[in-house]
């Protein structure tokens, strides 16, 4: 009997036994649905994580240097870091390390009281050099950012984050207004584009930027940095640049290994790769669970098929008496299993896409349609059907027609 005719026969059996067919499909559908949903949510999470990372660390062509050894990390603040990283370290890097495009200096302190008239809030203060915003990809919604003129003039100007704007200037245009930080007046000259929440969920908008020279001389009275951000001309030569910066700073700080470095050079790209790896691991674990669910769907098909075979012994006997070979019967049952599993797979893909869409809305993730995964899932369902249909089909093919017709 031809495959087309076998498939037609299988389809007829399915149509005439809608409830049984539906139940058999359910197991596979559940497995495939979870597979698709998990893969989609995993992919959406990965994309979202990368996007957030990019928003936090700027473009991936940067290297950051912080004072202190790798073991004393944390969010660097003027009050907590060792005073080892100097302004002229930044200048030296700019001058001596090849492949450096721009260098930005920063002085940061957290939880500083900021006041405007009778309103107050606590925010982080970032003294930054003029290139800092460009390097990080930060922009202003209104007003202007920090310029090198501001830096040279030690101008008392700030660019505020969205949270600060909402806390101090609700329903008010902040540009040109004067706020106070530790009783020092600063004029607002711009508002930053919101960066939303970081991977930890905390806001990235609760900050004020000012020229690093102003911060150093007029506010904090400190001559060391909490960080240097280096932008490379060619990001591919990342590792070489990291090594050059490390040896330059060791030389400048008089450090000879095995003495520990009093600075840490980090590579956001490596951190991103690590995050991507973690999320890849997570999605492969989730996918693994879904594959197991699909296999359980296969086992459901197998056991229901085995029951069906014993219920349909007479039908098998009749077909055999009328001329069906063992292989005709085998193929009929295999086709039924594969067809049921494939239809279950299609049903599962639809459910999974729906589920992922719901999850995406709830978690505010971008929707991810993994066409490859969908096609793969349906194929996997079909293969599962064939695999788990084999044993019942084999049993059906070996029904003794004489016994079957006598019963």
């Amino acid at each position: 009997m031809s495959w087309a005719r076998t498939l037609g026969l299988a389809l007829q059996t399915l149509r005439r036994n809608p409830l049984r067919s539906f139940l058999m499909m359910l197991g596979i559908a559940a497995g495939i649905a979870s597979l698709i949903a998990m893969a989609s949510v995993g992919e959406a999470t990965r994309q979202e994580t990368l996007r957030q990372f990019k928003r936090m660390v700027g473009n991936f062509d940067t290297i950051t240097i912080q004072p202190g050894s790798a073991r004393t990390r944390g969010m660097p603040s003027l009050t907590s870091v060792e005073p080892t990283l100097r302004f002229d370290d930044a200048t030296a890097i700019r001058r001596e390390v090849p492949n450096v495009r721009r260098v930005a200096q920063e002085q940061s302190a957290f939880d500083i009281d900021v006041q405007y008239r009778d309103r107050a809030t606590a925010a982080s203060i970032w003294g930054v050099s003029a290139d800092w915003m460009d390097i990080r990809g930060d922009e202003v919604t209104v007003g202007r950012g920090i310029s090198s003129e501001d830096e040279d003039a030690l101008a008392r100007v700030v660019v505020i984050g969205e949270d600060v704007r909402q806390a101090l200037f609700p329903g008010e245009d902040p540009i040109g207004k004067t706020l106070r930080i530790a009783e020092v007046p600063f004029q607002v000259q711009g508002v930053l584009v919101s960066r939303g929440a970081g991977p930890g969920g905390s806001s990235l908008d609760n900050l004020l930027l000012m020229p690093v020279s102003t911060a150093s001389k007029r506010l904090f009275s400190r001559d060391y940095l909490t960080g240097i951000t280096v932008q490379l001309a060619d990001p591919k030569d990342h590792d070489k640049a990291v090594a050059a910066i490390e040896s330059l700073l060791r030389e400048r700080h008089g450090i000879v290994p095995p003495v520990e470095d009093n600075f840490t050079v980090s590579n956001p790209r490596a951190a991103v790769a690590q995050v991507a790896e973690v999320s890849a691991t997570l999605s492969s674990v989730l996918t693994g669970i879904a594959v197991i669910a699909t296999l359980i769907g296969g086992i459901v098909i197998m056991s229901l098929m085995l029951i069906a075979v014993s219920e349909r012994r007479r039908e098998i006997g009749i077909r055999r008496a009328l001329g069906a070979t063992r292989s005709d019967v085998l193929r009929q049952f295999l086709a039924e299993a594969a067809l049921i599993a494939t239809l279950g797979g299609v049903m599962g893909v639809l459910l999974g896409v729906g589920g992922a869409a719901v999850a995406a809305v709830q978690q505010q993730l971008p929707p991810a349609f993994l066409w490859g995964a969908m096609v793969g899932a349906v194929l996997m369902a079909m293969l599962t059907g064939l695999l788990f249909g084999l044993q019942p089909a084999w049993r059906a093919a070996n029904v003794d027609p004489i016994q079957a017709l006598r019963s």
Partner: protein, 241 residues
């Protein structure tokens, strides 16, 4: 048509002892004959039917069907013989459930390798007087109608031999007679028919009766078949033979 020589069939019981269902049975059936094989339960008639129907193989002796020795045929070869050369009619009709009359008639064509002709299936249903029932599911049909669907099915691949196993066993006598008359009519059209039965009334429709007892062929005699009207309003009488 059928040439059976020294045919034996032994079954192995689970305890290892052997049961001789058929011993050295020999007979021939010529093309166009209408023969009954009669015997009580346990006489070996089912074993003989299974072998004649190529569902089973003999333990000894030979079975030639249309000149071909099929005794040693493989399962696949016997499937092909069943599809092309033998039409089966069973006591319990053995129609496929959840399937219409015409679809049942088509089933043998699925396994014969050629086209599945809906027109032919319909004409066979018409031939057995069920033209109006083609699209009915088998469960909607009476026993007599189901058996006539089964007879139409047995003719789907134009097999030279029809094998009927107690074809009237599940029918009342009126429906049973109608089925036997249909078989007699098909025989008159030239088909070779072998009916296996325990029932003398049924055996009386055939021109020849083989009697089995304890696996042995004890009698083989020609007889005048009963003469019956083909239908109640038909005044003429048909003599079979």
């Amino acid at each position: 048509m059928i040439d059976i020589k020294q045919l034996g069939r032994t079954y192995q019981r689970e305890d290892g002892s052997a049961v001789l269902a058929l011993r050295e049975v020999s007979f021939t059936v010529a093309s166009g004959e209408f023969v009954t094989v009669r015997g009580a339960s346990g006489s070996g008639k089912s074993s003989l039917l299974n072998i004649m129907g190529c569902l089973d193989t003999p333990t000894s002796g030979t079975y030639r069907l249309l000149g071909e020795d099929v005794s040693g045929y493989s399962d696949r070869q016997r499937s092909a013989i069943r599809a092309h050369r033998i039409g089966f009619v069973f006591q319990s009709f053995n129609l496929l459930p959840r399937t219409t009359a015409v679809e049942n008639v088509e089933v043998p064509a699925l396994y014969a390798g050629g086209e599945v002709s809906r027109a032919k299936a319909l004409s066979l249903l018409e031939r057995v007087g069920l033209a109006g029932r083609a699209d009915h599911f088998v469960t909607e049909l009476s026993g007599g109608e189901q058996q006539r669907v089964a007879i139409a099915r047995s003719l789907m691949n134009d097999p030279p031999l029809l094998l009927a196993d107690e074809p009237t066993g599940n029918l009342d006598s009126k429906a049973g007679d109608a089925v036997m008359e249909l078989l007699a009519e098909l025989n008159r059209e030239g088909r070779t028919i072998v009916v296996v039965t325990h029932d003398e009334r049924v055996a009386a429709f055939a021109a020849r009766e083989l009697l089995l007892r304890d696996g042995l062929l004890v009698s083989d005699r020609a007889q005048d078949p009963v003469v019956r009207p083909v239908s109640a309003d038909d005044g003429t009488h048909h003599v079979v033979g």
